[in-house]
């Protein structure tokens, strides 16, 4: 249209219609997206949820203490004394082994679950007919390095287990019923999906803050986020973890005990041969006995009484009349 020509009616109407349509569209978008409130406070805490109970109903409490320096052999004998692995793992079970792979250090330093135990337990579970065995942990050091250097990944894979490295998406915020600390906190739940049997395997270690790191402390590896904050109330967090997890079985490896410089160790001088392996269904009782390998009594470790108070087990391991075997 030449500049000096007046706008025709048709053109004016056309232009007005387009402008009107644009305005209507802008108005519709503004209306549809208008948020008069703005963002509110953070979403409420998720409802308290529980992890599945992995204990075997009707089995009762069992505990076995094996003596020997060959971990695989001692594990076999101790399990036999408790009725064999078949008493705990049945055909078709999907088993998860929660190891302690916290540090990127070699097996000889005993700062992590020994690969021989992982391999042997995997083998036994598969022999008993388990459909699958997986191994997981959320370590402190770099996860891939930890699983590689501890020998756990290699041992697990060659025995036929899957290794699940923790990824961000495997964690889900959880609130544990009655817990003061595990509230809206990320927990490594994805590896537990579909699992029917959960077995914890941990070494006996000195721990400067809590007094000892054994099977109950090992569940710390199911927590995500900046979990170090819980060290401010370590006894309570261990007890809450024991309350959160009801395993099928726990294995506490005191073949060598880290008696000093724990929980990292780093030198053979930090270790002592104690030639003892404890297998049991009651994690509190197993830890109560484990304390003796460190030269402590259950009463020296407040988390044991706290876990007992939460109903996670009994500190009086003698009441379970543990079976003792020697390899």
């Amino acid at each position: 249209m030449p500049a000096d020509e007046a706008l025709s009616r048709r053109e004016f109407l056309g232009r007005a219609a387009k402008a009107g349509a644009c305005l209507a569209a802008a108005g519709a978008i503004a209306y549809a997206t208008h948020d008069p409130e703005g963002p509110g406070p953070a979403a409420a805490e998720p409802q308290a949820a529980a992890l599945p109970d992995f204990s075997i109903p009707g089995l009762g409490k069992k505990m076995g203490i094996g003596h020997g320096s060959d971990r695989a052999r001692t594990l076999q004998l101790t399990l036999q004394a408790l009725g064999g692995i078949e008493a705990f793992v049945r055909k078709g079970d999907r088993v998860l082994l929660k190891v302690n792979a916290a540090f990127a250090s070699p097996p000889m330093l005993s700062a992590t679950t020994h690969p021989d135990l992982v391999a042997e337990l995997t083998r036994l579970c598969l022999k008993a007919g388990a459909a699958s065995v997986a191994v997981t942990d959320n370590p402190i050091n770099d996860p891939a390095s930890c699983f590689a250097l501890t020998g756990i990944a290699q041992a697990a894979r060659s025995a036929g287990a899957d290794v699940i490295l923790p990824e961000e998406r495997f964690f889900k915020p959880m609130t544990v019923k009655g817990a003061q600390l595990i509230r809206n906190w990320p927990v490594l739940t994805a590896p537990l999906a579909g699992v029917t049997k959960l077995i914890g395997i941990a070494p006996v270690k000195d721990h400067h803050r809590s007094g000892a790191s054994m099977v109950m402390k090992n569940w710390y590896g199911l927590l995500g986020g900046r979990r170090n904050i819980f060290h401010q109330d370590i006894q309570t967090i261990i007890a809450e973890l024991a309350g959160m997890v009801t395993p099928t079985l726990v294995v506490l490896d005191g073949t060598t005990t880290m008696i000093a410089n724990g929980p990292t160790g780093g030198s053979l001088a930090d270790l002592k041969e104690t030639r003892t392996l404890i297998v049991g269904t009651d994690q509190v009782a197993v830890d109560a006995f484990g304390a003796t390998l460190l030269g402590k009594a259950a009463a020296d470790l407040p988390f044991i009484a706290k876990a007992e108070a939460r109903g996670a087990g009994t500190a009086d391991y003698r009441s379970l009349s543990p079976v003792e075997v020697s390899a």
Binding site: F103, A104, S105, P106, I140, N141, D142, P143, A144, S145, A148, L149, L165, E167, E168, Q180, H207, H208, R209, R226, N228, I229, H231, Q232, D233, I234, Q235, T236, A260, N261, P263, T264, G265, G266, S267, A269, D270, A299, P302, F303, A305, K306
Partner: protein, 584 residues
């Protein structure tokens, strides 16, 4: 098969090899991981790395000998490396192709005409090489290796390793088990994207105007036995040969040998077989050397020679060293380090804990993109059982140390472990020191034996609303005269009741007005009504033993004071610079 197809196959092949090497630089022994793959090979083939480090260190380190192969190739055949091998060149060529494919012939010819600014790359090269020269001892403070800033192989390795792969990680397609962080990645990404997108303006922009390696090979190609050139007869001056000319070397006229990247598009385009690759010079004449002005050359060279001494006036390699700059274990003393590091990012890529990051200006301008440790990002501190970075470093800026040397074992037991710094507790931020909260996560995670972090136990009186007074004692329970306590607070196992006479017992539970103790109080122990009782918290306060601390930063990484950590590593006492020694 036409020669151009062969060139494309070669470019794709080397690009695939390059990407594969980048992916394979993942620590591990799976087939796709590092194992023993020669992932530095393309960097080693880059003769600018070899020549520049030769000038700065007077030695040619290990695999850098491969650069000789490229030099030989260039001396015989011309810049084949640029046109057939360089993965960065292949990226430029591909994007340049996208930019010009719909353009008219005239526009394509315009894009590929020679521009005098192509001389800039030679000035850059002269500046970098003269800056790298290590003058005889006592002469200024020389030998700053800056080539890595723009050398295409380090640049493309850095860009893919620190930008593209981490992005792929986040999309779930990358090689790392956990997404990776790299401080200051934006600048590396910006340089990379700018270099790529400039091809839309002028094809192979980077190669023509910037690339110091291209400049080096351009100079070497003056002796090339075989060259591109015009035959004596047949040319109709149609200029079709210049349509796809990647180097803008003007094959129609007097061909500029130093600019020719051996893309061979001219051979393919010529309808009259008037362009050949032969030993005789072009019938239209040749321009063998780049068009450098004497003045420009002198300016670049003098600037280069002065660059290192001027940059070092800041004192970062001397008394004003930056304590926040933690170099990886095995890194050379700072001045020697700066004569070798090409900023390729291989150490940052291979580091299993993602603790090595590209420096900003912490090490000065010349230290841009050199490795530094950042203990907040990453999945752990620097694992003292790991020696990956030094064993991958293509120039030994980080020496290939053994595990024994790192740990100070066996033959190295006399020297002690390699220290990269020392941890310091910030008592104003540390929970047990400043906030009466038990913690010692740092002590727990200290990986050396005996631990470098040890604790001293103290009992501090807890802040209560009012002084506490005993009302009555029933076995292990002390009832108080007031109901002022927070119920349950003191039952964590860390709190103790201090009774008159100094008896201290652990509290197992409390209500607002009563304390439960770990054991019953017998007769004389029981305090009489009206006596004071104090609640104390048992704290283990961390201390660092500098003799044991190796500066690995695991403590700093794990510290629950997440912002500015309450225990931090600085470069004090690092082994590589003996004058940073802190204690006797």
């Amino acid at each position: 098969m036409s020669i151009v197809t062969a060139r494309r196959i070669s470019q794709v092949f080397f690009a695939v090899v390059f990407v594969w090497f980048c992916v394979a630089s993942t620590l591990g022994d799976l087939p796709w991981q590092l194992r023993g793959w020669p992932v530095n090979w393309l960097l080693e083939l880059d003769p600018l790395v070899g020549i520049a480090t030769l000038l700065s260190t007077r030695t040619l380190y290990a695999g850098l000998l491969w650069g000789l192969a490229t030099v030989a190739l260039t001396l015989v055949l011309g810049r084949v490396f640029c046109g057939w091998i360089c993965p960065f060149g292949a990226m430029h060529q591909f994007i340049g192709y996208l930019g010009k494919r719909r353009k008219k012939l005239a526009a394509q010819l315009e894009a590929n005409r020679f521009r005098p600014a192509q001389a800039i790359k030679y000035y850059i090269l002269v500046f970098f090489l003269t800056a790298a020269i290590l003058l005889p001892d006592g002469w200024l403070s020389s030998g700053s290796l800056l080539t890595g800033l723009l050398d295409p192989l380090p640049l493309v390795h850095r860009s893919v390793n620190l930008i593209l792969l981490p992005l792929a990680d986040r999309a779930g397609l990358g090689p790392s088990p956990l997404p990776r962080w790299y401080e200051g990645a934006w600048l590396i990404g910006a340089v990379f994207l700018a270099a790529l997108f400039l091809n839309l303006r002028v094809p192979r922009f980077y190669c023509r105007f910037v690339c110091p390696l291209g400049a080096l090979l351009g100079v070497l190609s003056r002796f090339a036995v075989w060259r591109i050139g015009r035959t004596e007869e047949g040319c109709t001056d149609c200029r079709l040969c210049e349509r796809g000319c990647e180097g803008a070397c003007e094959p129609t006229g007097r061909i500029r040998i130093s600019e020719c990247v051996m893309c061979l598009n001219c051979l393919d385009e010529c309808r009259h077989d008037a362009v050949t690759y032969r030993t005789r010079p072009s019938a239209a004449g040749e321009i063998l050397l780049p068009d450098l002005s004497r003045r420009g050359f002198i300016v670049s060279a003098v600037s280069g020679v002065l660059a290192a001494p001027v940059m070092r006036l800041g004192g970062l390699t001397g008394p004003n060293w930056n304590p926040g700059l933690i170099r990886p274990p095995g890194a050379l003393p700072e001045e020697a380090f700066l004569t070798r590091c090409i900023k390729c990012g291989q150490c940052m890529r291979v580091c299993p804990t993602n603790v090595i990051h590209p420096a900003g200006f912490e090490a000065g301008l010349e230290g841009l993109w050199t490795p530094k440790l950042s203990f907040r990002a990453g999945t752990s501190g620097c694992q003292h059982t790991c020696i990956a970075c030094g064993n991958l470093c293509p120039t030994a800026a980080i020496r290939p140390i053994s595990l024994d040397e790192r740990r100070g074992r066996n033959e190295f037991s006399g020297r002690g472990p390699i220290r990269i710094g020392t941890a310091f507790v910030d008592r104003g931020r540390c929970l047990p020191w400043a906030m009466d909260r038990p913690c010692i996560v740092c002590q727990e995670n200290c990986p050396v034996s005996p631990k470098a972090i040890f604790t001293r136990e103290v009992f501090n009186a807890v802040r209560t609303n009012a002084p506490l007074t005993v009302k009555s004692v029933d076995r292990g329970r002390i009832a108080l005269t007031s109901d002022t306590l927070e119920a349950g607070r003191f039952g964590t196992g860390d709190y103790h009741a201090l009774l008159p006479g100094g008896l201290r017992l652990r509290i197992t539970a409390n209500t607002a007005g009563a304390l439960d103790l770990e054991r019953p109080l017998d007769g004389p122990e029981a305090p009489p009504a009206g006596s004071p009782v104090a609640v104390q918290v048992r704290l283990q306060q961390p201390h660092v033993d500098p003799k044991q601390c190796i500066g690995c930063g695991v403590c700093e990484h794990e510290c629950p004071v997440l912002g500015l950590r309450a225990i931090r590593v600085t470069a004090e006492n690092e082994s590589r610079n003996p004058h940073h020694r802190m204690v006797l």
